[in-house]
Amino acid sequence: MNGMRSWIARRLLLGAVQTAAVVLLVFALTEALPGDAAVAFAGDQPDPQRIAAVREAMGLDRPAHERLADWVLGLLHGDFGTSLTSGRPVAGFLADGFGPTLLLAAVTVLLLVPVGVGLGVLAARHEGRFTDRLISSATLGVYAVPEFALGALLVSVFALRLGWFPPTAVGYGTGLLAHPAVLVLPVLVLLARPVCSLARLVRAGMIEALAAPYTAHAERYGIPGARVRYAHALPNALAPATQQLARTVDWLLCGVIVVEALYVIPGLGTVLMNAVADRDIPVVQGLAVVFGLATVVLNLGADLVTHRLAPRSGVAA
């Protein structure tokens, strides 16, 4: 299995390059600001004192490569720098927002795979019949809908009209786990797109696998239907789906930002949006690195799983 090992090595290398690229990109963007960055950051009322403070905090009087080296070294030690607006360490912001975001993401991912695969298999088993048409058109329709629009509608109906769930997380602080009702709508919105995409892929893959000669061959040789479906056809359907799962990581991260804004959940997304609004660059940089790293790692994991499931398909590396 020499090929496997070299593939993994190449894939890990790509991951490392991507990580480095994310870090560099984040740094370069702030570096590319026109004019004096400190003036730009100081905001609408350029108060000389504030400009000086910003300049001091960002070390703008030193050459770029030194600042980059310092910043990267800091990142390696978990030191993300200091917020421009509050003067608190960025790591503190990250720690505050981490809990709610992790909770949201974890619940979503836990539900995503069984619901997505389940719906896909269900539709494939009833290909062309009512169940399939229902699942197919629903997943197709919801697939492209932005989270904020769907979320706003769900709040109007289920929170305001019916009163089943609270409309926002305001007042629940960070103890979301103690109030599961608060989580229902955010998780539902967060799930919508990835579930649809996953279900559609599993359905297509499953229908293809069920029609493939190897499935006919297993049936021909007396393997019972359920075993053919789940032990022989499903693994083929899952390979393309896992690959897509990696790409839905992207959507989940986008979704988290929107959902946190929509339901006022004090997670990383909210921290990011506030920092963007305040142009608090060190905080934006820190969060971008964390989000970027999460994507790289999750993509890497999904590619490894895909490679295991479909050793033949050349996952780009």
């Binding site: 000669p213 190897y214 040789y221 007396g222 393997i223 075993r227 022989h232 499931l309 050793p311």
Partner: protein, 523 residues
């Protein structure tokens, strides 16, 4: 397998029978009133070109029909299961599961009656036995590999092992030797003979008459879904009565392609060539040719098994494979490695005809226009003039005007291969490199294409031809033969030398595996 003594067939019980089977799809009969009986230990061959209804009949035995088919007639199977070895064994092997998965699933169902603790061992035992029967060693790790990690031969044996594990007493083998070289064919024939010797009946679907001749006890010749002739193998093969059978059975060409008296000076010379392929990031040498020469007016055949490097050699000549060292000389002048660097004259001088003619044409444009472009680009002809010349050449090769105005989709494989020849000829090439140009064609079409090639070579000013092939029958009429194995030319010489007095063991093995040429080297 042919029984050692003449046994009266009727004493053998019938394992399966097909009676007046008709399979229609959209009102078109794929199979029309076919009847046959299958007895233990015998090989029944369904012979015919592709599309003659062989596969549909074979699958009917398994109770499988095309979607939307209307079926009449009767298929009865007496107390046995039927195994199936398809043309491409990889298609029935699940790409996402290890080879052992289906075998173990099948074995586990057979040992359900045993007490639970013994089941695992018993199932494993059965799988090992089935593999051994199919000449595979379970301890070699075949079970733990994915299908794509097995060789083609191993894949075929795994599929056979599945059928044997099933306990099938009838096995349907669909085109098992198509596109295989002589040595691989030999192995497959031996394997099927061994299966039949175990008392298992084989239904062989094939258009490979050599294989049919060796294995079959009973032959049915099919054409357009109908059986045109049916009977014991020796009677059909030695004394065919139906004209179609006669045409199918006609011997391949033995008359030399080139005029032996007209061989001229050296035209194309390969000197110290080493070609490499990039696999998994490494560049490994796949072909080493010290010296190979094509003379004016002759046909040089390069024979080898798949993977021997013969296509790479052809592509190096044509400038399609750039990654090589050494020289290719045309009239003593070195040709640039890549065709991107070759001048118009050099491009025109060495033309290449592809194995898959359909893939080598643009599916959107009429064939005539595509053929004419050669004269426009390589000889600077005007559009009208080029079209006129293309039309003449195509007509000359037997393709009429209405046909070549169609897009490639409207032509058959044989017709497209002729058009591909015409496209190359319009360059007025000195050297024509033909890469397996007959491999996908049925015997009748193949023969007519090779006859055409001979006509071209024999014309005054006709091109010298490098004929790349895995098929000894196709190579035999060439002026000279070069035998390629493992990237090396193991032997080259005139056809008489190679075919009657081979010096290299590989050449001898290749000849021995062929029915027609084997006599020369068999003790």
């Amino acid at each position: 397998m042919k029984p050692p003594m003449e046994q009266p067939m009727n004493e053998n019980p019938v394992l399966a029978s097909v009676t007046a089977l008709t399979v229609e799809v959209d009102g078109r009969a794929l199979v029309d009133r076919v009847s046959l009986r299958i007895r233990p230990g015998t090989v029944t061959a369904l012979v015919g070109a592709s599309g003659s209804g062989k596969t549909t009949t074979g699958l009917a035995l398994l109770g499988e029909y095309p979607a939307g088919a209307r079926v009449t007639g009767e298929v009865t199977v007496h107390g046995t299961r039927i195994g199936y070895v398809p043309q491409h064994p990889a298609a029935v092997l699940n790409p996402a599961r290890r080879t052992g998965a289906l075998l173990h699933d099948m074995a586990r169902r057979q040992v359900r009656d045993l007490p639970r603790p013994q089941r695992r061992t018993a199932a494993r035992q059965r799988v090992t036995e089935a593999l051994a029967d199919a000449q595979l060693d379970a301890s070699a790790g075949v079970l733990g590999r994915y299908p794509h990690q097995l060789s083609g031969g191993q894949q075929q044996r795994v599929v056979l092992a599945q059928a044997l594990l099933l306990g099938a007493r009838v096995i349907v083998a669909d085109e098992p030797t198509t596109g295989q070289d002589a040595l691989t064919k030999r192995r497959i024939v031996d394997q099927l003979a061994a299966v039949a010797a175990r008392g298992i009946a084989v239904l062989l679907l094939s258009h490979d008459l050599d294989v049919v001749r060796e294995l079959a006890d009973e032959v049915l010749v099919m054409r357009g879904g109908r059986v045109v002739e049916q009977g014991p193998a020796h009677r059909i093969l030695d004394g065919p009565t139906h004209p179609w059978t006669k045409e199918l059975l006609a011997e391949p060409r033995t008359l030399p392609y080139a005029d032996p008296g007209r061989t001229g000076e050296e035209l194309l010379t390969v000197d110290g060539l080493t070609a490499r392929h990039r696999t998994a990031g490494r560049r490994a040498p796949v072909l080493n040719v010290d010296r190979l020469t094509l003379r004016r007016g002759e046909c040089l055949a390069v024979v080898g098994r798949s993977g021997s490097g013969k296509t790479t050699l052809a592509r190096c000549l044509a400038g399609l494979h750039r990654d090589h060292t050494g020289q290719i000389l045309l009239d003593g002048t070195a040709l640039p490695r890549s065709l991107r660097d070759r001048s118009r004259e050099q491009l025109a001088a060495v033309q290449y005809v592809f194995q898959d003619a359909r893939a080598a044409f643009d599916e959107h444009r009429p064939v005539l226009d595509q053929v004419a472009r050669t004269a426009v680009r390589l000889r600077g002809a005007g559009h009208r003039e080029a079209t006129e010349e293309a039309r003449r050449t195509l007509t000359d090769l037997g393709l009429d005007d209405a046909l070549v105005r169609r897009a490639p989709g409207g032509l058959s494989g044989g017709e497209l291969q002729r058009a591909a020849l015409a496209r190359a000829l319009l360059a007025r090439p000195r050297v024509l490199v033909c890469d397996e140009i007959t491999s996908g064609l049925d015997p009748v079409t193949r023969r007519s294409l090779l006859d055409l090639l001979a006509t071209l070579i024999r014309r005054p000013g006709g091109p010298g031809v490098v004929l790349i092939t895995h098929d000894l029958d196709t190579a035999a009429p060439a002026t000279r033969l070069a035998v390629l194995d493992g990237g090396h030319i193991v032997e080259q010489g005139t056809r008489e030398q190679i075919l009657t007095a081979p010096r290299h063991p590989f050449t001898a093995a290749l000849l021995a595996a062929s029915r027609r040429w084997g006599a020369a080297v068999r003790p």
